[in-house]
Amino acid sequence: MRTFTIKLGKKRIRFSDRMIKEEEEKRWWILPLIVLTYLLPLFVGEYTVYLLNLVAVAIIGAVSLDILCGFCGQLSLGHAAFFAIGAYSYGIFHMTFHFGYFLSFILAGFFGALLSLLIGIPSLRLKGLYLAIATMGFTFIIEDAIRFFKEWTHGVEGFRVSRIIDLGFIKLHSGKPEFYYFIYTIVILVVIFSRFLLHSKLGRAFTSIRDSDVAAEVSGVNLLLYKVLAFAISSFIASIAGAFMAVIIGTISPEDFNIFLSINYLVMLVIGGMGTVYGAVIGAIFITFLPEWITALRDALLPPGTEISVLQFLIYGLIILIFIVFEPNGFYGRWLVIKNYFKKFPFNEKRIGRVAWILRWR
């Protein structure tokens, strides 16, 4: 616990970190949730376990995008590119060069972080929408580069990655429940890491850049350093998520990493609640299960053989629009509003303010 003092005339007031903490959280529900997470594969079938593994990848990816977009306010449409870099560099390091599993994962992460400098350094001069355009271009370029370097990535015919991870004492096949425990341990680590990140010095610097980069710079935040750090951390985690995606899917091709994937991850943040870690997790779970529900809906409503992508596009688009227009803070924001409503139940104000929350977006 750090303390610092402020002089007010003759008075000296001592502050500590804990005194200026803005919200107090009750965390009693975290332990049961973790236990439930680990018990879940006992009750569901193998296909659901496979889906839950994909959910884990989505959670890691969404949290990493949240660090960049929600915490630091750098709108990125290029997350699919980092996924692709992670997946392909894991594949190349592991399958072509026969590096170890652990080393390949770490190298994939570092490779993603290295390439993120390509956007991170110009991001000092590119603000808001320019950055969105640049990152979108980055997605297109990486997708095309995978097609271009055929001898390394096998181009459109797909790159086969081994679905087994050898931890030394146990071999994990990504279709089996054992893998589930492994990947959810990593998910929990990533979530805890990003919670700590949000409340650390680094996270405070990120949020100050999000709220106003000029004000942040004036109050002593090194803009270049912190923006590059945000990009590097985010793309490190995203690349590792991409590597896991490669392990789970088994065969990766450039179409898996198109602009739609980037948009997908942004939608997760919008639906869950941008700028909050739990929101990203909720959004990731919701969006990953959505195609399953859409397929069920298609089977129930439409004649068989209807093209699935019509319904998918329609529902995705409508969900984005409905959330943006009616609840831009997502599920988590709505949950906080409801919680606060019940917290001060007899004495609440007439209307629940919506405008105050929107300040989170910038």
């Binding site: 110009p122 001069r125 929408l129 320019y130 355009i133 640049a134 271009f148 943006i324």
Partner: protein, 288 residues
């Protein structure tokens, strides 16, 4: 004579890029957001033109005009429905909302016209011969229509009260509100105008790329053109589009196909790293 053909093709492609980029720039100037649904509006209105030609058997010019009107209507309806409630929001949610619009439009196009690519080539096939240059009618008409539109736009922004008030809004929103310009109606009009432009571009580009619900990606390729000519400058968008189209076609003659497809984005990257303000940059004061 390959290089001259390349130049002609490049100018035609550049004209299409310029039209779409102009749409981006118009919306950006008025409302300070980028409309990522521009390409999809383009796709939708060229499908409407296609429907008029094949199902109602209208002649081409009539259906072209009708498609442009449909584009105008589509743009203003979309603005009214989804962008109007978001006035005053920060840019990010509005931009994501336009992405949502683009997805919905793709889905509706898929429902109405299926995902089979359709061919629409209403222009005559026989190429014109000028002096030593052969030029196909599509390219000729693209260039003629674009030049005519540029002249119309110049006159519109210079001499009509509507154009002047659009410029005033771009310059100073509060001031133009105070002096009695109906700003909201103008936003709506801007969206309609930009959508009509992209409808024209869509009909002109449809013979080159097949009609397909995912055709809107072509529209996104005009974004680098707008960036190249500094977002928010109308002559910049035109010059940017021409430069981009020319360089893409000429590079396509010498480079492998994979690079040609992402060429606009490579150009964008180079521009953003070297000179992110673009060519036609005008100093703009920004309040913090």
């Amino acid at each position: 004579m390959v290089i001259i053909d390349g130049i002609v093709n490049g100018v035609a492609l550049g004209c299409v890029y310029a039209l779409i980029a102009l749409g981006f720039v118009l919306i950006y100037k008025a409302t300070k957001i980028i409309n990522f649904a521009q390409g999809e509006i383009m796709m939708f209105s060229s499908y409407i033109c296609y429907t008029f030609i094949t199902f109602f058997h209208f002649n081409f010019i009539l259906s072209f005009v009708l498609a442009v009107f449909a584009g105008f209507l589509l743009g203003s309806v979309l603005e009214k429905l989804f962008i109007r409630p978001l006035i005053g929001y920060p840019i990010l949610p509005v931009v994501i909302a336009t992405i949502g619009i683009s997805m919905v439009l793709q889905a509706i196009a898929g429902l109405l016209w299926t995902f089979e690519p359709q061919k629409m080539d209403p222009f005559p096939m026989t190429p014109h011969q000028f002096w030593k240059v052969t030029i196909s009618p599509v390219h000729l008409w693209t260039i003629i229509i674009t030049v005519a539109l540029m002249i119309i736009f110049f006159v519109f922004f210079r001499y009509t009260i509507l154009g002047i008030s659009l410029r005033a809004i771009a310059e100073d929103l509060l001031g133009s509100m105070a002096s009695g310009i109906a700003v909201r109606r103008m936003f709506n009009f801007t969206w309609g105008l930009a959508s009509a432009l992209s409808a024209i571009a869509g009909v002109l580009v449809a013979p080159i790329v097949f009609l397909h619900p995912h055709m809107g990606v072509v529209g996104l390729r005009a974004l680098p053109a707008a960036v190249l000519g500094s977002f928010g400058s109308i002559p910049g968008a035109i010059v940017g589009g021409l430069v981009l189209g020319l360089s893409e076609t000429i590079a396509g003659l010498y480079l492998p196909k994979e690079i040609k497809d992402v060429f606009p984005w490579l150009v964008l990257f180079v521009v953003l790293i070297i000179k992110p303000e673009g060519i036609f940059y005008r100093y703009e004061q920004k309040k913090v």
